[in-house]
Amino acid sequence: MTTSSNKKFKLVFGSWWLAWALLHYAVLKNYGLNDMQAFADSFISNISLVGCSWLIFNNMRYYLPRQEKYWYVLAISFGLSSIWIIQTRILLWAFFRNDEVYMRLLTNSSTVRFGIAFLMLGCMATMCLLWFTQKEQKEMDERKMETENLAKEAELFKLRQQLQPHFLFNSLNSISALIGSQPEQARKMIYQLSDFLRGTLKKEEQQLVNLEEELEYLELYLDIEKVRFGHRLSTIINCEENCRQMKLPSLLLQPVVENAIKFGLYDTTDDITIRISATANNNYLEVVVENPFDPETSSPKKGTGFGLSSVQRRLYLLFARNDLLETKSDNNLFITKVKIPQLI
């Protein structure tokens, strides 16, 4: 509830009860009670009734019945009305026990009083129930919308990541250079680049693919880098036979290998080897990517940045676990290990 609507609600609530109390007073006056008695009766009855309503309101605020809500409304109004009738009677008796006429009227009107209280509290409970249910629904919708927005943003960010303008333009530049000297090689690279780009466009986030497919795709990427950097890059891919058909989320390994290229190839001057190995281990597919790096100039701990944290995030969203990605650096070697649970 916002503060302004809260204020308004209190105002309406207060006026409603004031009107009701006045009516109560007027009715008793008509029956011939004096001012003092009519006022006291109206005041005590209605203040207690307001108290009961407030009780219902707060009860519903913190506990909203899920099952049997209509029985709950009935029971709570019935119970509170009973307590209310006993309580007002005791209070009024304490004040006016010596006035026989009044006491008779009080006894005679008990049923009517109970009926009115039951009706009022029933209305109050129903209103509260609807109000809080609707509020809860609204909050849930907002939460859902927020989650959806976040997912969309992540998706967009991922797309931006994948397009990697830098990689694309440099590859095109290499093709341009090859066209003059080695047109066949240039043509081949155009096909590789096209297949790679098509891959980044068509894959869906949730889709599971075979390791074999994912590795083919990575090889495509690595082959393009090999053309760009010539002999400087070599790769070793070891994949156990029984892993080939194991499943993993599509493009999950791409950022891991990109990260390896970023620190291993883009930021070093020597010949380097990137090693990818896949093994099956108790219902898990384990993929290890190793790349050299220069601890003097790059700190992969910090620089892993978005690349690896997006992998971490995806693994969490898919498997609700945070322990599936491990990294460590050993001398000049940076090792990233991804474990993918195999759902049977």
Binding site: H166, F169, D294
Partner: protein
């Protein structure tokens, strides 16, 4: 006239080499794989023009130029670097976006040939370097020359900076290095949450501070993990208090 190509991709070099064949007056002195080779080759050949890639291992093209006292005319080549392109445009230095056509390349050469008599190009390069010094990559590390070697200092390894005539002394655990820049340059470059100017002539890495002691009237002294003592002026004290959340 002598030219150098500095680019870490062999194919990127080969296309420039190919385009250069149409200018017999320009002799290609050497091709360099990275910025380190570039620095050496520039000293050795004193080229009239260099073709310089920006993204290269360890030190980028701009950082390489900073290490050269009198940089030659430069045509930058880059595939994609938003920051650099903005800087090029505002400083009218010629640059080639990869992949570039022969026509575009010829135009750059013609422009340079037309201009090389004047010193305009060089001045532009200087102001360009000032501008790109604040690009994100450059605020992560500082490249200095020490003896004949090039040293890359990650900013988190800096203990403190000290002004020293026209230079700034960069103090690290391996001793100090000189960089031909001003204190205000570093004040702009470095993350203000980590480096605080405690004094007209000092800037300190707050992660290195172990304690602060009063020193003379109205001034203080911070003691670093290394044991070094750095003066803190009155205004510096106020800044430091703010950064440390005291």
């Amino acid at each position: 006239m002598k030219a150098l190509i500095i680019d870490d991709e062999p194919l990127a070099r080969s296309i420039i080499k190919e385009y250069l064949q149409h200018f017999p007056q320009i002799e290609l002195a050497q091709e360099c794989n990275d910025g380190f080779e570039g620095v050496k080759a520039i000293h050795q050949h004193q080229p009239d023009i260099i073709f310089l890639d920006i993204q290269m291992p360890k030190i980028n093209g701009f950082e390489m130029l900073e290490l050269i006292d009198n940089p030659p005319a430069t045509i930058f080549t880059t595939a994609f670097d938003e920051y650099a392109i903005k800087a090029f445009e505002s400083h009218a230095v010629d640059y080639l976006l990869k992949p570039f056509s022969k026509e575009r390349f010829d135009k750059a050469i013609q422009k340079w040939l037309g201009q090389s008599a004047t010193a305009i190009l060089k001045n532009n390069t200087q102001s360009l370097l000032e501008a790109v010094a604040q690009s994100p990559a450059q605020s992560q590390r500082i490249v200095v020359k020490t003896g004949g070697k090039i040293k890359i200092i990650p900013v988190e390894e800096i203990h403190y900076l000290e002004a020293s005539d026209d230079y700034v002394k960069i103090h690290t655990k391996e001793g100090h290095f000189l960089k031909n820049k001003t204190m205000s340059h570093f004040e702009q470059l470095l993350d203000a949450n980590i480096f605080t100017r405690t004094h007209r002539s000092y800037m300190v890495n707050i992660q290195q501070i172990t304690r602060m002691e009063p020193y003379e009237k109205e001034s203080y002294m911070v003691v670093l993990k290394s044991g070094a003592q750095v003066p803190v002026s009155k205004t510096g004290y106020a800044k430091l208090k703010l950064v440390l959340g005291l």
